[in-house]
């Protein structure tokens, strides 16, 4: 990319420049110049910072053009000039009726996709009338027990037109089956149904910890579902391999990148082992990353992710279809960066983080609401969050050109550094016996806990400033933004509704489909096909999970994984 003689001349100039800059270095505006992830940043980046930049093939092999291998500059040639990213705001709270109202509000305000948040009992496979659900129903998302709830959530929303994302993992297949049955009942051809299921169990063991079953049967649920969707729901993104939660649990940017991609490769290897052709399922894989506050580090992370994925898919897994090489991703701004103090400042943080996602070439984006350290978003806060994306899209001009930061010496060097750090982690993971072994050994979990503690100590030593928290603090601050409260009656009403549906449905059919699910779980039948029939019979998420718990057992963390460091 650069000639050797040019770099040699440049190096000489830098030596002189460095000498004359010395006089300014006694004074420092900050104690340390480092990223959110704790990586030191150089004062200056130049063509000499790009390792291998004098190699003739460097540009073609590592950067290329947008829409071309290795996709560092983006997965599409014309990107946002043809289609803006999907503005997909995550929502879900209280009863299915509340969530349906919020969805219609988001669509009316110009949101272009839906994203469903479920409550913890649903995520953990307990019905609203279960003892363990007490106090949690409708709290951090919407409660879904049976098909009846899904019918209400998507009432009057045309599932042929809107694409829907569902953030659920252990019981992901059960909830997707219900969604597909709602679409069938609306008269929609499953071939036209579009959306994404998070369905990423590995990061649950690593970070978010909403697991039910042990890893092996959990991965089987995923491969069964992938095989069904490849045949019947071809536009559905079967899995959203998520770094978001890994980052929120304390990871650095490089750890987020490495662990997420390692999870992705683990699913790919499992599906190949299941007998599936990589080019059949790989085009429907998608990723989900965090957008933290360190602007350039994040952009380097997204660009490196695309490059690593393309190289591995092509070279290691032998994918022939270029669509299998594309790493498409959703981005959410970093919840863990938001502050409970002076919460309005979170609007600014979110805007900057969202911009990094856009400059990194994201396919869809969720912007957090300013009040998320206090409660679920109020309608006003959710609207400002959406407006933030619209301002970026329509007012700033960043959508006018593809990968506007490509070629920035700093961004390219950061991209290379991210790739190298991820590769080092892949080696370590392989050495330890792979992703599942690393989960058992608590390797990922301890890495995250250590990074989280280090970050906290940097704050407490004030090596790092968080505005409003450890500096620029308002004494006797009173929070005066509206905070959403979930009505106490939600739990009672939802639990009563669940009992009512269970009493009124055809319970012979329920028993019959559940028996078939048990049989499929015991043998190697496709569990997803049976779940479609369970969903049609109004079998609940909890009932399906209970059968699988009985057959497969429940997972609990190893002592090593629980260790704080």
């Amino acid at each position: 990319m650069f000639t050797k003689s040019f770099i040699a001349r440049l190096k000489k100039k830098i030596v002189e420049w460095d000498k004359s800059a010395e006089r300014f270095r006694a004074k420092k505006s900050m104690p340390r110049f480092f990223t959110v992830s704790g990586e030191d940043v150089d004062e200056l980046y130049t063509p000499d910072s790009i390792k291998g930049g004098t190699d003739e093939n460097y540009y073609d092999e590592n950067i290329g053009l947008p829409g071309q291998y290795p996709y560092t500059r983006g997965v599409h040639q014309t990107l946002y000039r043809s289609k803006l990213w999907t503005m997909r705001q995550f929502a879900g709270m209280g009863t299915p009726e509340h969530t349906n109202e919020r969805f219609k509000y988001i669509l009316a305000q110009g949101g272009t996709g839906l994203s469903t948040a479920f409550d913890l009992p649903t995520l953990m496979g307990y019905d609203s009338d279960h003892e363990r659900s007490l106090g949690e129903v409708g709290k951090c998302g919407v409660a879904v027990d049976t098909l009846a709830d899904m019918e209400i959530i998507y009432k009057d929303i045309d599932l042929a037109k809107v694409s829907t994302s569902m953030t659920i993992n252990s019981p992901a297949s059960m909830v997707l089956a219900m969604y597909l049955v709602v679409a069938e009942k609306q008269g929609v051809d499953l071939k036209d149904v579009r959306g994404t299921l998070q369905n990423d169990i590995l990061k649950e063991y690593i970070a978010q910890k909403e697991f039910i079953f042990p890893p092996k049967p959990s991965i089987r649920l995923i491969t069964d579902m992938m095989s069904y969707c490849t045949k019947h729901v071809p536009q559905w993104n079967t899995i959203s391999i998520s770094g978001y939660h890994i980052r929120e649990a304390g990871a650095t940017a490089a750890q987020e990148l490495a662990f997420t991609l390692a999870d992705g490769f683990c699913y790919i290897e499992s599906a190949i082992a299941d007998g599936q052709d990589v080019d059949d399922f790989a085009p429907r894989l998608s990723f989900f990353f965090n957008a933290h506050s360190d602007f350039f580090e994040e952009i380097g992370k997204y660009r490196a992710a695309r490059r690593i994925f393309a190289k591995r898919m092509k070279n290691k897994y032998g994918a022939k279809n270029p669509k299998s090489w594309l790493l498409r991703f959703h981005t959410q701004t970093a919840g863990c960066s938001l502050t409970a103090q002076q919460p309005e400042n979170n609007i600014v943080r979110t805007a900057i983080q969202a911009l990094s996602g856009v400059l990194g070439g994201t396919q869809s984006l969720h912007t957090n609401s300013m009040d998320e350290t206090l409660a679920l978003p109020s309608e006003k806060a959710a609207l400002i969050a959406l407006r933030t994306q619209q301002v970026i899209a329509f007012e700033t001009g960043v959508a006018n050109t593809v990968d506007p930061l490509g070629g920035s010496y700093f961004v390219e060097a950061m991209t290379d550094k991210m790739e190298a750090e991820a590769e080092a982690y892949f080696e370590e993971i392989d050495k330890r016996g792979g992703v599942l072994e690393c989960i058992e050994q608590g390797f990922f979990q301890q890495e995250l806990a250590r990074s989280a503690y280090q970050h906290q100590m940097e704050l407490e030593k004030k090596e790092r400033v968080i505005v409003g928290v450890n500096d620029f603090v308002l004494e006797d601050e009173v929070i005066d933004i509206p905070v959403l409260k979930i009505d106490k009656n939600v739990e009672r009403d939802q639990s009563a509704f669940c009992k009512k549906i269970k009493a009124e449905r055809d319970n012979t059919k329920v028993q019959e489909t559940l028996a078939r699910l048990r049989e499929a779980a015991k043998t190697d039948g496709n569990t997803f096909e049976v779940m479609m029939d369970c969903a049609r019979a109004y079998v609940s998420v909890g009932e399906m999970c209970d059968v699988l718990r009985e057959e497969w057992g429940e997972y609990s963390e190893t002592q090593a994984a629980m260790s704080a460091s």
Partner: protein, 139 residues
């Protein structure tokens, strides 16, 4: 005689977000306390039983799921039932200010909210131990 403060940490309810509690565990340990972390999805009875068995001075729980107004009172009830109300109960999470006030009225000794430095928890525990009238020297 030096006696280390013994703290049991746990995640009640269904919430799996354990970043905060692990940071607290490491910070309390670094401050010289003995920390027992019992992990995720502990019921109030499991937490209180473990606290009694381990003979701890304090129980710390972390709740980010919004279920705090159910789970804290449930833990307090079991503590009362099992004559364990002398154990200090503290916690943290995504907890709005008015809920925090109500919980502290109900008998939770201290509720920490986002942004609180770990030094506050350490200081709180040391002071709470002193005011418990413990005449042993606390390190």
């Amino acid at each position: 005689m030096d006696k280390k403060i013994r703290v049991l940490l746990a995640k009640p309810g269904l919430d799996g977000h354990d970043r905060g509690i692990k940071v607290i565990a490491a910070a309390l340990r670094d401050a010289g306390m003995e920390v027992i972390y019992t992990g995720l999805r502990q019921t109030p009875a499991m937490i209180v039983d473990a606290a009694i068995q381990e003979d701890v001075d304090a129980i710390g729980v972390s709740i980010l799921s919004g279920a705090h107004m159910t789970l804290f009172p449930a833990i307090l009830d079991v503590m009362k039932e099992k004559n364990a109300s002398d154990i200090i109960l503290f916690g943290g999470g995504i907890i709005p200010d008015d809920d925090k006030e109500e919980l502290e009225k109900l008998g939770v000794s201290k509720v920490f909210t986002p942004g609180a430095p770990t030094t506050e928890a350490i200081e709180f525990l040391r002071n709470a131990m002193l005011s418990k009238g413990n005449d042993e020297q606390i390190m």
